[in-house]
């Protein structure tokens, strides 16, 4: 588990991370969401032991990470612009990592390169941005570290490759204990992937929630109601949002599916149906409660 307590980091006069406290449980994909300048990369770099916090603590499995190789052996940092040695090939980088990460599985690394049709001995600097990202992901997976910190890992990947990388991480999570922490500015990238989301804004944590429980607590309903029944419903419902298109009303309601079903049937709708919720719609629910318009954050 990763415990972040009252973490602060300032660069000259700018507070990049402002008294952030988070708990990242093991075995879940944690999405770190935020606009540019929210503090995501700074937080990840502190988690990886690159930056020293100005205040607060970071404990990974109850141990401080700063200048601690034993803890760092359990973490792999994937930067937004991952660095490779100037004339290194994927095979050479694998050898390098093998020398530093005790659990690095070199054979599996080579297999992954072959499976994804990479020339092992071609110079990495001749690869595209997306391909370089993939190589970095392979290295991180094969390092067999319990924690992977990914900064904008999906940026630059086409949808097919993104899908395969996501599948790779998910299968890895099934195989062994793995806790990926993924930073992104794109809600949609993390939608089908993360178990828990933390939103950063201006260096602070806006909220941190388990997605499944959030999805459980909010429902999207489309229904056809008589006008007087609709007015009554709107007065009584625990409503997030309502949209009317002709005689069709789309409601975002707080509550479990069962509760909402019982509630709506009181108003004898002519028709009603539950629709799938996007992550954005869930967060509108959450952030509205604390006074933020999340659309502004991600527009």
């Amino acid at each position: 588990m990763i415990e972040i307590n009252d973490l602060t980091k300032t660069f000259q006069d700018i507070t990049a991370v402002n008294h952030v406290s988070l708990e990242i449980p093991e075995g879940q994909v944690f999405g770190l969401l935020g606009t540019n300048g929210a503090g995501k990369s700074t937080l990840l770099r502190m988690l990886s032991g690159i930056l020293k916090p100005d205040g607060g603590t970071i404990l990974i499995d109850a141990i401080h990470i700063w200048d601690n190789p034993r803890v760092k052996e359990n973490c792999f940092y994937l930067s937004d612009k991952q660095y490779f040695f100037p004339n290194a090939s994927p095979e050479a980088m694998g050898r390098f990592y093998r020398g530093l990460y005790p659990s690095f599985c070199f054979g599996r690394y080579l297999d992954l390169l072959d499976d994804f049709d990479f020339d092992r001995f071609r110079k990495i600097r001749t690869f595209s941005k997306g391909m370089k990202k993939q190589i970095a992901v392979f290295a991180s997976i094969c390092a067999e570290t319990p924690y992977i910190f990914c900064d904008e890992v999906f940026d630059g990947l086409d949808p097919v490759i993104r899908q395969s990388v996501t599948a790779l991480i998910k299968s890895e999570m099934k195989r062994r204990p793995l806790t990926p922490v993924i930073a992104s500015h794109n809600l949609k990238e993390l939608e089908d992937f993360c178990d828990q989301i933390g939103i950063l804004h201006k260096g602070g944590v806006l909220l941190s929630r388990d997605i499944h429980s959030m999805q459980y607590k909010t429902q999207k309903l489309q229904c056809i109601l008589k006008e007087d029944q609709l007015s009554r419903l709107l007065e009584q419902a625990d409503l997030v949002s309502v949209k009317q298109e002709g005689f069709l009303t789309t409601l975002l309601l707080r509550g479990s599916r069962g509760e909402i079903t019982s509630f709506i049937e009181q108003f004898q709708p002519e028709r009603y149906a539950f629709l799938p919720l996007t992550l954005e719609e869930i967060f509108i629910n959450e952030t509205e409660a604390i006074g933020y318009d999340i659309k502004l954050l991600f527009s």
Binding site: F11, Q12, R45, S48, G49, I50, L51, K52, D67, N68, P69, R70, K72, E73, C75, Y77, S79, K81, Q82, Y83, F85, F96, G99, L100, Y101, P102
Partner: protein
Amino acid sequence: MISNCSFPKLFKETMKRRVWLALLSIYLYLTYIIDFTLAQSGKALFIGDDKLGPGSRTVFLVTIILAVLSAFQGFGYLFSEEKTDFYFSLPVKRSRLFFAGYFSSIMIAVVPMVFARLVCYILEGSRSGDALYVTWMGILLNTLGFLMIFHLVLAVILLTGHLLVAAGGTILLFFYGTIAFGLVIGKYSSAFFDTYYRADLMNFLTVCASPYQLYSTLAGTGREEDIEGWLLASRLPEMAAVLIIIAVTFVLIFLLFQKRPAEAAGHALAFKKTKIVLKFILAVPAALIIGYYIMLCSVGSRSFVLLVTGILFGAFTINGILEILFQFDIRGILSGKLHFAVISIFCLIIAGSFVSDLWGYDDYTPSASEVQSAAVFIRGLDDPSFTGKNGADFEGSRADAQLSAMQLKGSDKEVFLSWLEDVRTAAAHVPEPLTYAAVAYHMSDSRTIYRKYPVSGEEELEAFHSIYESSAYKKGAFSAISHKSPGIRQYVWSNGIESYHLDLNGEENEHLLKLLTSDLTGLRISDIKKDLPLGTLSLVYGTSDYGEEAPLYPCFTATLDYLESAGIPARKTVRDYPLTRVQLFKKSEKTSALGKKTASRSLILDTGDAGEIQKLSGQLLPAEYAANQLLNPVNTSYPAVISWKDSSGRTVNYSNMILKGDFEQ
């Protein structure tokens, strides 16, 4: 907690990344071996230095190049955010990361150097103990030099976060002492202290604060000694300074690396707190130098107003430039006002201390009991480089050599100090002195203090006779007679036209040296007022290619007779040669609109007429024989070229003649 990544593993990985630097190092040292080999037979591939010892300029330069490259290549990743993130995210302790880069740099630079030097020792062919000694001294001092430069450059890298800033800082570092101490203190001292001649402490500080100069002085790259001449004992202060620098900088770079924040990558400075210190170190000497040069624009070159204005301008400009560099923003020129104020005040205090001679520099007079021995050089006395003007300028003279060699002790010292007191008193009332005397006080505590005093007139020079006629003075002034005769390899006589080598045995060497010493010691002020030298006698000592010259005056009867008995025409002058042609020139000086003076000469006579030549030849003499312009002035406005036929009928030309007296066409 100990990382699973062992140091040997990390070191091996680091070395793999630095193969190109290792290859470059091997290539440079192979070039050195070839260059050294060719130099043995007088040829050159690169520098053509045939020194086996620490004085080898090739190895000196290569170690500096490798020190700089090693530091930048091994730790240059700190300038890049992505590279820094990569390295700092690895499961390696920072200290191990540091040592992997550090020791790999040493291996790459030092191992090939040791190998190359030993190969050169073998190639040299000399298996003498001295050759092996200088080889090992070379290895030791070049390693120390490498370490010092490497540490200092690495410190600059760790204090900065940008490649260009680090590169600029490195260049500045190399010559900081020369600028901050040598230029600033030297210029201010000579501008405001009337008695300033030189200051050994300042010279030493200048050398120590300039890594390039310190390393060069330690290794002796400008000197001639190599095998059978190289002494570590003469370099102990520099050795101590280098060792201290290495030790202190090692601790500094280790701590800096541990503390260095990853976010420093890409910024001008890595540690914000160093800003004011660096500004101070850079801006203060720069502002003082700018102030000095602006002051020179004034009439008389001593305007205090211009000095202050220049300092303020310099402080503002340098402060602004540094702020621009630190912030990477041109608007930074207007920030740091408090720093500008502090720097200006400090500079003005320093300048003011020179202007007012706060430390009593000019009034300094040591007591006789503090002075172990003294030395003096009077500009224009036995001084071929003196033209008769500007006696305060000792450049080109042999003043330093004489002050170093002379030791007036006991009664000689008392007489000299008394004479000096009279000179200083007399000079206080005379605005335009005749000349200047450079004085060295060799103190009881091993320091040497130098001063320069004006000599008001001929009366003071006349009063100098009792000092001039002492054997201690003569030994210091004419170093030819301060050596012991077994060291003499050869005598060379010359009258400016002909020269003869004398090959004498040990007894004859000693006898001639005795005669010369006696004649020189007996040389009086009245003699040099009356006569000019007839020739010179050079004594070549040991393995040196150069002789130490002593003049031969007409009153050196014993020496001249002995030389003539050995078949040398010791009393032959220009008039005794069958000259075939004389070309006479007139020297002139032009001053441009900007005040720049250019010397030129024009031909005024070119004659082969025997009568004319006969008339002129009695007045011609070699220019360097006009060595006593104060007491026996010679007109140097008419340089001449003479031609004569030697015994084989060959025409020989001599261009360094002058016509004493005036020329009437």
